[in-house]
């Protein structure tokens, strides 16, 4: 932070203050529109790298074991373009409504850094594979808005660097080229996003779309990396690099917007610069390096031929995408828009939902099933850091069937679900909920059974009953609590309450 004593802060160089230094009002600062554009790098899940046959499945392997002369940039090695990566990029371009370029080409982006063994990254520059698309996203008020996509291009991932401190504290860098040349697509948006939350929703939907297309696996560490351009209306733009998680994007943007607003509040101008996001600390820091576009000295890659793949895109058949699936779920299953949105937000969740409905016992229980997946199961999974694929569909369908037949109360169903997930989580076999309920006597009891319990509790608490009869309505709560305890949640609270009130009234 600059020292406020050194001048008036507006950059005029006047130490005493100047006409332009008037600090804006709090309202003006608060009302400044937020403008965000994203550059999203996603690893494509091809079997091999972009320009060589090295396996792209490198994550659990020792460093420098997925490398060859091509991805190590050894002299004389020539890149050979992976057809599948091109097809995947076309799929994404088509799904996001981009125009496929008649001719696209690769270029060399030159920079000197140990993560690039060749001294350049092969990327697409002035002739990307596709231009001008769009995707919708919900804004913070829940209204659908269009985010324009500027372009999509193909490029290779650089290697991975590990920074170390040596004993003499000098520090050095270790390089692993397993990631070198993994295929990436970079998706660039126009500055159409207006808040960190909206940006996160956009990314979530983009991730969902890429997973629907089966070209990307968002669960792999580092499979998505984001650079964000952020500015406040009328002020300079800051590029924030190195964001490598979905949560990180929202955090980095929120931090950066607060930082920029605070500068403007103090009457200072935003420096146009590249900043780095430090994920662990949730802050961005300025980096003095000024990378000028010219410094990359882009030129056409002489070792790769142009692509003419526009007609390929026409032949690509897209699967049902999130928006279409949401509409279908709402009309076919008559579920609420919120449930539909939640279900289609992850193709695995959508498939799970449709999978359990295949069970004839609950195939008509579309709303009940949606409620239990969205409002209970997903939260319980999140809490245990579990994935939905781990849940056997027949077990969950069985639980929904118990609920449908009113054999268990909601409370017991939640308990059974939790026990079931704990079993799976800890590597035990998960039992069918109907068996669990039968074995442990958790089934919903009959009114006769509950009436017996009520009689017993009432008889044991004559004072509370007397208080209730003398007009202290609260006194009944104590009795209800005692009875709930005795019935272990197997009674539906509403009907239990009625039974108790009726019984006590009958005693008068």
């Amino acid at each position: 932070m600059s020292d406020s004593n050194s001048g008036c802060g507006c950059g005029c160089g006047d130490g005493k203050g100047c006409a332009g230094a008037a600090k804006p009002s709090e309202k003006d600062v608060k009302d400044l529109k937020v403008i965000i554009g994203l550059e999203i790098h996603c690893q494509l899940n091809t079997k091999t790298k972009l320009f060589c046959g090295c396996s792209a499945d490198f994550r659990d392997d020792a460093p420098n074991t997925h490398v060859c002369p091509i991805c190590l940039g050894l002299p004389g090695a020539l890149p050979k373009l992976n057809k599948q990566a091109v097809i995947y990029a076309l799929k994404v371009a088509k799904a996001l409504n981009l125009e496929i370029s008649e001719v696209s080409e690769f270029s060399r982006k030159n920079y000197f850094y140990p993560d690039l063994p060749k001294g350049y990254q092969i990327s697409q520059y002035d002739k990307p594979i596709a231009l001008r698309g769009k995707m919708t996203v919900d804004d913070d008020e829940g209204h659908e808005k269009v985010i324009r996509i500027t372009r999509i291009h193909l490029e290779e991932d650089p290697g991975r660097l590990v920074h170390k401190i040596s004993r003499d504290r000098a520090g050095y860098t270790l390089v692993d080229y397993n990631r070198s040349s993994i295929p990436l697509i970079e998706i660039v948006t126009e500055p159409d996003l207006s808040s960190p939350k909206e940006a996160r929703r956009f990314l979530n939907k983009l991730r969902a779309t890429l997973e629907y297309l089966d070209v990307f696996d968002g669960e792999k560490e580092g499979s998505i990396r984001v650079d964000a351009n952020i500015s406040l209306e009328g002020h300079n733009r800051v590029e924030c690099k190195n964001i490598s998680s979905y949560k990180g994007v929202e955090k980095a943007l929120t931090f950066e917007i607060t930082r920029q607003r605070n500068l403007i509040r103090r009457g200072q101008e935003i420096v146009q610069e590249t900043r780095h996001f430090l994920e662990g600390r949730g802050i961005t820091t300025g980096s003095r390096s000024k990378e000028d576009e010219n410094d990359y000295r882009y030129f056409p890659e002489p070792d790769l031929k142009p692509l003419r793949v526009k007609d390929w895109a026409d032949k690509i058949e897209l699967p049902e995408l999130p928006d279409a699936k949401r509409e279908r779920f709402m009309s076919q299953y008559k579920i609420s828009v919120n449930h539909a949105k939640t279900l289609v937000g992850d193709i695995k969740v959508a498939d799970f939902y449709e999978g359990i409905l295949k069970n004839p016992a609950i195939s008509k229980e579309t709303e009940l099933a949606a409620t239990w997946v969205c409002d209970t199961l997903l939260g319980e999974l999140y809490y245990r850091d579990m994935k939905i694929d781990a849940v056997p569909r027949e077990c969950f369908a069985d639980l929904v069937a118990l609920l449908k037949d009113k054999k268990v109360t909601d409370k017991v169903a939640v308990d059974v679900l939790r026990a079931m997930l704990d079993d799976i989580h800890e590597g035990r076999k998960c039992a069918m909920p109907s068996e669990t309920v039968e074995k442990s006597g958790l089934g919903k009891g009959s009114d006769d059974e509950f009436t017996e319990i009520i009689k017993k509790v009432v008889a044991a608490n004559p004072q509370a009953v007397a208080d209730y009869h003398s007009g202290k309505g609260n006194a009944i709560n104590f009795i209800v609590g005692q009875i709930m305890k005795e019935t272990k949640g197997r009674a539906d609270p509403k009907s239990l309450n009625k039974l108790i009130v009726d019984y006590i009234a009958s005693m008068e």
Partner: protein, 89 residues
């Protein structure tokens, strides 16, 4: 033609130090090379130079990679399978 300033900035991007007294020599050698390109540019493209290849692609099939030992054989210094480089960042 490139100027001495341009050569200096290119050297900086490549992390190479060019001593002041050698700058003029490097600049003129750069310009010699660039002149060859000017000559090449004057050759009109004809049938023999025409290149209309496009969509040169390979299938997504895994090929064997080098072993770690082979991969590291030319590296000056290594540590636990990594290539060691001077500190960056």
């Amino acid at each position: 033609m490139v100027s001495e300033e341009e050569v200096e900035s290119i050297a900086k991007l490549a992390d190479i130090t060019i001593e002041k007294e050698k700058l003029a020599g490097f600049t003129s050698r750069f310009n010699d090379i660039l002149e060859y390109f000017d000559i090449l540019d004057q050759v009109a493209p004809d049938e023999t130079t025409k290149d209309d290849l496009y969509n040169v692609l390979r299938e997504d099939e895994v090929m064997p990679s080098l072993t770690q030992e082979e991969a590291l054989v030319n590296s000056g210094e290594t540590e636990e399978g990594y290539i060691k480089s001077p500190k960056v960042m």
